[in-house]
Symmetry: C2
Subunit: 405 residues, 2 copies
């Protein structure tokens, strides 16, 4: 068995509270997954990652990138080390992407055929070939709890015809990914540590910015029957309302009893909004990448305007602050007075600004810890409010029942 | 009161076990002090620094560099933030150097007069002037528990005459540093937090590589009566036996009831050797700088040859390993199987090599934590053996007494 997904509450807007049981542990959803590109969430120690967030509960699940680990240190080396969990000493759940997105965004001289993609490494120009079967082989060697079907990421913008053609290729590759995974899933390096458990392969919905193609893609993938579904190819430069629309149209088609994952999003208010729409999993490099550039997220103070967009649900607003600004030079407050992450409990804005200005590596580390904590706290708050919303909706009924007794 | 120094044991070789009581806490000596140049021990979080070492007791005292903090963010800013302890959130003891070493090694266009040194910043070429009085003012604003007299660091090699002249200037500056400190010690930013406590100003012995000048310098400084004495201007490229000889000749003159600090040393076997000779405090950028270059220290395995030099005292040998070597690519052992620091408890050589090869910042962090732990463990072992050596020397006497009863 790969995973089980237990939904405990569903709110009127579609958002749901669930537990995703994976071989390496249980993930409370909706969840944000920090990105650990090269088997490290940049600048953050694993022992710290296990403690981030105001509740000090840490990240529940993290990502690693197949493309990067395939090139260095190589998936066969990681297999020999027992898989990526043991290699990086991360005992909790993990997810790997298929390598597709990086092949299409980072590598050079790509040549796409029905069979797969030939490309040159962005590191040394060496020639490589990824087919759906090869991506799955690499991801089985890495041994994350969840792996992804190999997909083509169409360029943006693309015509309806081009998008349709690319989507069809993605569907063919999804079927081949699934067939290959089912034939080889027993080869995962931790097979003997978790008898009877396997990885879980998610399909990826494509279809660009066309609602009809998104729906069609979701329908085709659902026919193939994956244990979970991702929505890919979004947040690639399109307006936010287009992203929201594509997600909404896709969620209508995806089965409500399986986990639904939007890849590569987003700002704090976005992940909150999508979670309230019924998205269970999200990942993004934004909190860590922004941190390295001195961009921090904090909650708005009373009366302060945040960067949230108005929506159906009132969401707590997130304010962006650029720590290098002179106004923070002698500011003795923590980044976010409402945050109790280890950075906000200990360090001042003045100190973080100093570290950033003098280019001390500790600055990127502390900024990353806070931003990741802010993202995890956002999801924690959404999970709590989803349960509360359902309780509110149920309570009158309960009273009614009690009255009847 | 600045400090008190309680010696509990002295071994035959001169090494002593003591407790150095400072306003921000008590330091068990002999001690190695990690260097936190710009108010951060590079790449290491303060919460981690409080836990490094196999006993997880953390660093007892760290350094910060006056020259760097004077330039950025500026000592007056740090004063307004409550001093360097509060600024960087480090509640334990700290020490600042005088800025002299960096002025003479980093800055440009120095012009030395009896009054002080005019120099240009290595960052932006801006013009600055450091006199003994100004160095002390800056160090009082920073507010470390221990501050250092402003000294001239003579170039190496230097003639006896040139070294003598420079030493005389250092003595004149030491007297001016002391007079200025005594007049202004009440201005330390934490004065009201520790009523009746002040910083402690150490004098610095110079004299280059000339034993007679070293002795003379020590005698002049002892006449001035400092609460502690540093030996400066060593480990600047001279052969190791010269370093040892200069330290030995100086220790003969320095009072045995006051703390003695050798600045800027050294390799693990060096700090052990000097501690056994009677040096109480040492600092060096080596463990953290080497870590960032992938050079790690570990204890020798049985039968393995270390890099220790033969000496009067058998010292545990330290082996240097370069983590980038291919031989570690699939090595699942910790850096040092005999080490129980947080890095050796959790991470493999294979993972650390990967991080170094792909230039992930976490590599420098984990390497630094291990190397610092190795240094602290070395001193912890020396402290234990100093107590044991004294106990061994005393025991026969005790038996004799018992027999007489």
């Amino acid at each position: 068995m790969g995973l089980s997904f237990e939904i405990s509450a569903t709110a009127a807007g579609g958002g749901r509270r669930a537990a995703l049981h994976l071989p390496h542990g249980t993930v409370q959803t909706p969840v944000f997954m920090p990105v650990g590109t090269a088997a490290t969430v940049k600048t953050v120690q694993q022992e710290t990652l296990e403690q981030i967030g105001s509740d000090a509960a840490g990240a529940q699940i993290i990502l690693a990138n197949t493309y990067h680990l395939y090139l260095r240190p190589g998936h066969q080396l990681i297999r020999r080390m027992g898989g990526v969990h043991r290699f990086m000493s991360w005992p909790r759940p993990m997810l790997t992407d298929s390598g597709g997105f990086q092949v299409f965004s980072l590598s050079e001289l790509r040549k796409v055929t029905d069979d797969g993609v030939e490309f040159r490494s962005h590191l040394d120009g060496s020639k490589h070939f990824f087919s759906p079967e090869h991506s799955i082989d690499v991801q089985i060697a890495l041994g994350a709890d969840i792996l992804m079907a190999f997909d083509e990421c169409v360029e943006t913008p693309a015509t309806w015809e081009r998008t349709r053609q690319s989507m069809d290729l993605t569907h063919a590759w999804a079927a081949r990914s699934k067939a290959h995974f089912e034939a080889h899933s027993h080869e995962v390096p931790w097979a003997s540590d978790f008898p009877g458990r396997t990885q879980s392969l998610f399909g990826i919905v494509q279809g660009g910015m066309y609602a009809d193609l998104r729906r069609e893609s979701a329908e085709r993938l659902v026919e193939m029957d994956f244990p979970g579904y991702a929505i890919g190819g979004l947040a690639v430069g399109e307006p936010r309302d287009v992203t929201r629309e594509m997600i909404a149209r896709t969620l209508e088609v995806l089965p409500s009893d399986k986990p639904r994952y939007v890849m590569g999003v987003g700002y704090p208010d976005e992940i909150e909004e999508y979670a309230r729409m019924g998205v269970d999993m999200m990942d993004c490099v934004l909190p860590t990448r922004a941190a390295r550039h001195g961009l921090l997220f904090r909650s708005a103070e009373p009366g302060e305007e945040g960067c949230s967009s108005p929506g159906e649900h009132a969401s707590a607003t997130a304010v962006r602050m650029n720590i290098k600004r002179l106004e923070y030079a002698e500011d003795q407050r923590p980044i976010d007075p409402a945050c109790s992450c280890l950075v906000c409990r200990r360090y001042t804005r003045a100190y973080l600004r100093h570290l950033f200005v003098v280019k001390e590596p500790l600055g990127a580390t502390l900024n990353s810890i806070h931003n990741l904590s802010f993202y995890l706290d956002t999801m924690s708050r959404v999970r709590g409010s989803l349960v509360d919303a359902v309780a509110l909706a149920v309570d009158p009924q309960s009273d009614c029942n009690r009255n009847a007794v």
